[in-house]
Symmetry: C2
Subunit: 273 residues, 2 copies
């Protein structure tokens, strides 16, 4: 983990390394004091419906920012941001089907595209670790796994579908602490939506995560703890069969300059000292 040729704590350095093609890994663990987000780019004709969908499902889809049509940046999240090149991987969907996973979308950019950046649980992982919570998936160099649940989101326009969750394998004391801490960060999905038996929220098989990656195993003293996940937007956009929709690919997130501590959060960390 010491072979980076850039300052991994600096969000601007991370974005530059990605933009220049020097870094192609996941963004989990990078610039840990700064907010990372999910990317969702839709044509202007669908942008208002999509924003309404997010507002109706704030646990999964907290909106950190929205671009003006045709502008590939959300300036309040980072002045030098270029969403066409600063994300390590993109998935391009046409009529709801994935057609490409490029590392740049400069050639696809259009004047009518609107980008949304949505809160992501990566941002609270650093907070959890500072609170003493062990995140085994990070120790093992992977990410949290995602699952499609049997819980339904509230629809808006053409956007609807199941809630997607991220799962972290936590020991009980860490699960309790993670709940007390994460509830104070509504912009990063807040407290979990479920813990324990996966089948109670319609997850039949922990070993088959959405997207196929992430830590899916449990140690005997661990519980699976499930948070609402921004990937919910991807499923909704696919179901809506938008002519074009572009998202971040896997765990390549939007790295912003916003300090985690600057986001709206509840005043009390709930951490015993």
């Amino acid at each position: 983990m010491s072979t980076y040729d850039f300052d991994i704590r600096s969000p601007a350095a991370v974005r530059r390394a990605i933009r220049d093609g020097r870094y192609r890994g996941f963004t989990s663990g990078l610039a840990p004091d700064h907010v990372q987000g999910n990317l969702m780019i839709v044509p202007r004709a669908h942008a208002d419906d999509f924003e309404r969908y997010c507002q109706r499902n704030p646990r999964a889809l907290p909106v950190l920012g929205r671009s003006r049509p045709g502008e590939p940046r959300v300036s309040e999240l980072a002045a030098d941001m270029d969403l066409r090149t600063d994300v390590g991987g993109y998935t391009v969907f046409r009529d709801g089907e994935p057609v490409a996973t490029p590392v740049s979308i400069a050639d696809l950019w259009r004047d009518d595209l609107v980008a949304f950046v949505l809160g992501c649980s990566f941002s609270f992982e650093a907070v959890l670790q500072r609170a003493g919570v062990r995140l085994r998936h990070l120790d093992e160099g992977t990410v949290s796994a995602m699952y499609v649940t049997g819980l339904q989101t509230e629809a808006a326009g053409p956007f609807a579908g199941p809630l997607v969750v991220s799962m972290r394998a936590l020991r009980a004391a860490d699960a309790i602490r993670a709940i007390t801490v994460s509830q104070h960060y509504p912009m990063f999905h807040g407290e979990p939506v479920h813990l324990g038996a996966p089948e109670l929220i319609g997850i039949a098989d922990l070993s088959a995560p959405y997207g196929g990656h992430g830590l899916t195993t449990l140690m005997p003293d661990e519980l699976p703890v499930f948070w609402a996940c921004g990937a919910t937007a991807q499923l909704a956009a696919r179901a809506a069969r938008l002519p074009l929709c572009i998202t971040h690919h896997k765990a390549h997130m939007v790295v912003t300059d916003v300090p985690v501590t600057d986001l709206p959060h509840r005043s009390d960390t709930g951490i015993r000292t």
Copy 2:
């Protein structure tokens, strides 16, 4: 539940009914807006050690009040309180062994006795219910079960021993909400110490609770959630083999005039509206 001949919401009325022998049931659910506490009476010679023991184990033993030697009341908890008669049942221990469970200790009172009132999870059950958490043990007319764990408290003087916990059977969403709510009430044991597999904290058999009473069964969609419990003091006092020690008996608690909302609590309820 409508056959009480007193105002069950009034702590003074509850105390009077107990004092007059008109009520002999458990105090759970009575005067729900007011704080209830565990009672622990020890000889003056051991009072400072006991208070230190509480301070070292604040999750289990949050001190709500301490009487002056020989005074059977903690005036700041209720002006008319008489701890010799206002608790529905007492257990008298001599040299660590239970010798009697009277309904009054007026004849046992001595000038050197010091009473402690310790925070109790009954007080946050009303708060949990207001937050929408279903407490099945209350629906079924019983109390939460207690268990002796394999976790050790921090000793002080002759006081030492295992942590005792109370268990509530909760569905996952209720467990999460109960954690986010209870963390804000450190005087009522704060957030849980464990949830899920009982054997991880040394509880071999959920069907064999400490004291023999309370809800011990789990529905298929419920998790056992464990909070530190004031009964920890009873075990420590027994192990210390005090010549005399008097506690409340089972779920007959000290009913105070202190509104639940007046106790120190963290400012944010964590409840989504």
